[in-house]
């Protein structure tokens, strides 16, 4: 690829000019690193150089104006609901003040109320007359419900102004969280971690001792004071409870004769643990998504960085600008690595900063990096495939949406099911919650992204050459080109027939990630609907991965379109996929097959019977080979027959999966 280099070609350009000293160190690892770093440095200086002062000034001006206005308006909120509903009420009605105080309502006098169709519809949503409250129209119920909330808020405000606090707040509540081990009377002691301390906040020690059968509580009791303090000082992410604890009617605490007062309010590590008595309104339910929202912070900057990264890659392809670098002594891998390095380092830096800001540890950073890599790799490939900036915009938005979903949706189920671990964001959530993560879990979670990023980059590198960079081709045809360039690379090194084997195995991470995403998306759907869909989708994903490169090879005439060749390619592709899939059975270590939907995608857990085991082991091999041959035979005959064969192979595959699951399950 780099054979045709001509170091003098770009002599007129400052970039190539400064590249000349590099000639001395063309070979070896050191040379590669030096060249990569040099490209990286150009990338930085050029990017900084092109941002002119006017742009910076305009951006600063806009940010300042937005910041000032935003801060000024922050008290009022966005007021999205302001005057959303109309309520018909006379001014002397006690409820009139409620409507005036609440921003969501606009009061109009009863005389202006017009009802149509026998009070089915009208110009109001809620009517208050003769101490009765009625609702009108399609949105009347919602308006009525909102009005009910407004009355409660109104009452709360009046009560807060009352002089006689004991009369205004006649009910006091304390709330405490207590671990209990259901259905496991013996074990569970090892699970007793510092979270158990929350029970120690129980003010009356004797009550805890008698009521809690678990002896560990009694042991903890003596040092509960210190434990609590440690816990409060942990620096855990618990912004929520400070407010909840403090929001109680503090002045009234003195009135109670309980000995809670002796215990300083150290605000447990738990969300909204309420030890000081407060009014019912101050009870705040634990917000299980707090860590998730914080973890999401890691993903946000990536969406912005890939915009700039996509632009710089795309820039190389406009007006053949990239030619200068292509003819430089740097190989394409070095060019791409150099251009990517500043953005990757930037993202790592941002991740570290975020981790420091929200109290995440090394694990958080370690989990954020593969996400960043996946974002950059996908954007690189997207920018190589896109024909125009317009197309690039949509490609990057798609990447943002898909990857964000991939990271975010599974993480919602962090405490619910092990499937959440497919997203590295889950690791960050766990890290923020103070849980530990095993190495296997880390690998399970980040492995697909590492591999996926690597394969994506390979695909993009495949078309980082003159004939693809500067021509206008449709994305599917570029993708086929990218695959074919991989086929060529493998053919050169090993043998033409080795490519389906290797590529099938290489696509496994994508298959794996896609299937996990399918499972995660359909996790919430009722099983009756989810199972068939997951069966077919999982099969389709696998069949696609096994046959698309075979099709690419045929479409670009890399293989003879004969029956024999197609069969051989199909067998090899099936074999490669089978071996790759066995590797991914590391899934089972995480206990995913316990999930019914997981079985649909990954096949049942291995049985202990040796015969069944052997059959279960070999049956997929037969299946993969058969369906891959079907796909290959179709691919050899052109696009339409490939589509037909693909559907056929998918159906066979889905039927097989269904059969196995019903047999074993």
């Amino acid at each position: 690829m780099t054979d045709g280099r001509d170091p003098d070609a770009g002599g007129a350009d400052g970039i190539a000019g400064s590249a000349r000293p590099a000639e001395a160190e063309t070979g070896g690892l050191r040379g590669r690193v030096t060249r990569t770093l040099r490209v990286a440095r150009w990338e930085v200086t050029r990017s900084v150089g092109t941002v002119d002062r006017k742009t910076i000034l305009v951006v600063l001006a806009m940010v300042t104006v937005a910041g000032v206005v935003g801060l000024a308006a922050v008290d009022e909120g966005l007021a999205l609901e302001s005057e959303l509903y109309v309520v018909g009420v006379d001014e002397d009605d006690p409820y009139h003040d409620v409507a005036v105080e609440s921003t969501a309502f606009r009061p109009i006098p009863l005389s202006d109320v017009e009802l149509e169709d026998g009070s089915e519809d009208g110009n109001v949503d809620v009517v208050i007359a003769d101490d009765r409250i009625g609702h009108v129209g399609t949105n009347g119920e919602a308006a009525y419900d909102a009005f009910r909330g407004a009355v409660e808020t109104y009452n709360e405000r009046r009560m807060a102004a009352e002089a006689d606090e004991t009369a205004a707040y006649p009910v006091l509540v304390t709330l405490e969280y207590q671990d209990r081990d259901l259905g496991d009377p013996v074990g569970g002691d090892d699970l007793v971690d510092d979270e158990e301390d929350s029970t120690d906040l129980e003010p009356e020690a004797d009550e805890t001792a008698t009521d809690d059968g678990a002896d560990d509580d009694a042991v903890d009791e003596d040092d509960s004071g210190t434990d609590d303090r440690e816990h409060g000082a942990d620096g855990e992410v618990d912004d929520g409870d400070g407010q909840a604890d403090g929001a109680g009617v503090d002045s009234t605490v003195d009135d109670t004769d309980d000995d809670e007062l002796a215990v300083p309010d150290v605000g447990g590590g738990h969300a909204a643990e309420q030890t000081a008595p407060g009014t019912p309104g101050t009870l705040s339910p634990p917000f299980p998504f707090q860590s998730l929202v914080l973890a999401f912070l890691f993903v946000v900057p990536m969406n912005f960085v890939i915009q700039a990264y996509g632009s710089t890659i795309m820039d190389e392809r406009i007006q053949r600008r990239g030619e200068l670098l292509l003819v430089s002594p740097a190989g394409r891998l070095e060019i791409v690595a150099g251009k990517t390095l500043p953005y990757l380092l930037g993202l790592v830096g941002i991740s570290v900063a975020i981790a420091l800001a929200i109290g995440g540890g090394l694990l958080s950073i370690g989990a954020a990096i593969p996400i960043a890599l996946a974002f950059l790799a996908a954007t690189f490939t997207g920018a190589m495939f896109a024909r125009s900036f317009k197309e690039l915009t949509f490609v990057t938005v798609t990447i943002s949406v898909v990857l964000t979903t991939y990271a975010f949706v599974p993480a919602i189920f962090t405490d619910v099911t092990p499937i959440a671990l497919i997203s590295p964001l889950t690791l960050i959530v766990l890290d923020l919650q103070g849980d530990s993560v095993r190495l296997a879990e880390y690998l399970f979670s980040t492995g697909p992204l590492y591999f996926g990023a690597a394969v994506c980059t390979l695909q993009g590198l495949g078309v980082y050459r003159e004939e693809d960079m500067f021509t206008q081709k449709a994305i599917p045809s570029k993708a086929v080109d990218a695959i074919v360039s991989q086929i060529d690379a493998i053919s050169r090194r090993v043998h033409a027939y080795a490519s389906p084997f290797v590529l099938s195995a290489l696509f496994i991470p994508f298959v794996f990630a896609a299937q996990l995403l399918v499972v995660a998306v359909f996790f919430a759907v009722p099983e009756a609907i989810a199972l068939p869909v997951v069966f077919v989708l999982a099969a389709a994903i696998e069949e696609f991965a096994k046959s698309i490169h075979v099709y690419a090879g045929f479409a670009r005439s890399r293989f003879d379109a004969s029956l024999r060749v197609a069969t051989v390619l199909g067998v090899l592709s099936g074999l490669g996929f089978f071996l790759g899939e066995k590797l991914t059975h590391a899934v089972q270590f995480v206990g995913l097959p316990e999930l019914t939907v997981g079985v649909a995608a990954f096949g049942p857990a291995l049985s202990s019977e040796p015969l069944v085991l052997a059959a279960l082991f070999l049956a997929p091999l037969v299946l993969h080979v058969v369906t891959a041959v079907v796909g290959a035979l179709g691919a050899a005959r052109g696009r339409t027959s490939y589509a037909v064969a693909f559907v056929l192979a998918t159906l066979i595959h889905a039927a097989y999966n269904l059969g196995v699951v019903s047999l074993v399950g």
């Binding site: 941002v51 002119d52 742009t55 951006v59 806009m62 937005a66 206005v69 935003g70 308006a73 007021a79 999205l80 609901e81 302001s82 959303l84 509903y85 409620v98 606009r106 409250i133 949105n139 119920e141 009525y144 909102a146 009355v151 009452n155 009560m159 102004a161 006689d164 004991t166 205004a168 006649p170 009910v171 006091l172 304390t174 969280y177 207590q178 259901l182 009521d211 809690d212 009135d255 004769d257 738990h270 008595p277 009014t279 019912p280 309104g281 705040s284 339910p285 917000f287 299980p288 700039a308 632009s311 820039d315 007006q319 125009s388 900036f389 197309e391 949509f394 938005v397 949406v401 619910v416």
Partner: protein, 342 residues
Amino acid sequence: MRRELRSLRSEKTIVLAIAIQLFIAAFSSFLVVGLVTMYDPSGVDGHEMEVALTGEDTAELLAAADRQDGLTAVSYEDRSQAHADFDTGQVAAVLDANRDGDDRLVVRTTVPDEGLATTVLVVQLRETLEAVEHQERLENEDRLAETPLPIPEAIDASPYVGFTYTILLPLLLFLPVFLSGSILVDSLVEERQRGTLELLRVAPLSFVDVVDAKLLATAALAPIQAIAWLALLAFNGTAIANPLALVAFVFALALLVVAVGAGTALAAPDRRQAQLLYSIGIVAALVVSVGLPEHPANTVAKFAIGNPTSTTWLLLALYCLLAAVAVSLLRRGVRRLEPESL
């Protein structure tokens, strides 16, 4: 203009754009429905939780808990028995209610540490306790300066109505507008960078015509998508009160945003800066619009739910006026521009 639309169609970007919007809408709805269900126990049907009541004064709590959907209260004479049942999972929570020296009801609540289920439980307990609080306040009436207003009976109302009108609908209507602007920025910057604007000069068109065509083609996409969204929402049972006003609103906004985008693309040196300026400008505009008497999202919500005020209509007129001014300013600027200088 036709060429512009054709290139969009050939790149299938519009399909992608709509798919993305659908995805974002589905995603946000999914999150909201999930959250609302969690915080609104009435959404969880047929899930009754038993709570144990102990202490001296449980009568009021007992009555309130039975009125609460999803809660059943069981009285325990023996406090340790209640805690034992809590440990074995027979009851979901223990409430210990006693009177203190000031005749206040002190409720000591013990709930399990079990994630989502606890969240639902605490929400229900809070509502129950608030009902008790309201009752107690009424009994203290003579000591209070103002009697609390009676709270209307609870009814089964869809908790998603507010979200649909104030967040989902504005989101769906604004996204196409911003995408249109982004498309135009890309389109103009690319023609500049590839040098194809020169070629258009040979065509029997003035440069103003070219920009006009691009402007109209991209701006027209937004109301078309808006109509599709409104139709889809109406089909799903969300009544849209003033569809015409909404479409006009979207078109005016699209023209305004696209004109600003075109100006940015012609003024900025390259794509990165054009897109940076454009996107920051949009965000800043959204923030600054808080200063308006009605936020644009609020305007959309009021039109859609059928409660527009005269301010709402005035703002619609203002947006139309702004769009016209922006377009004419852009045309004037383009006419003065030397295409060779690009």
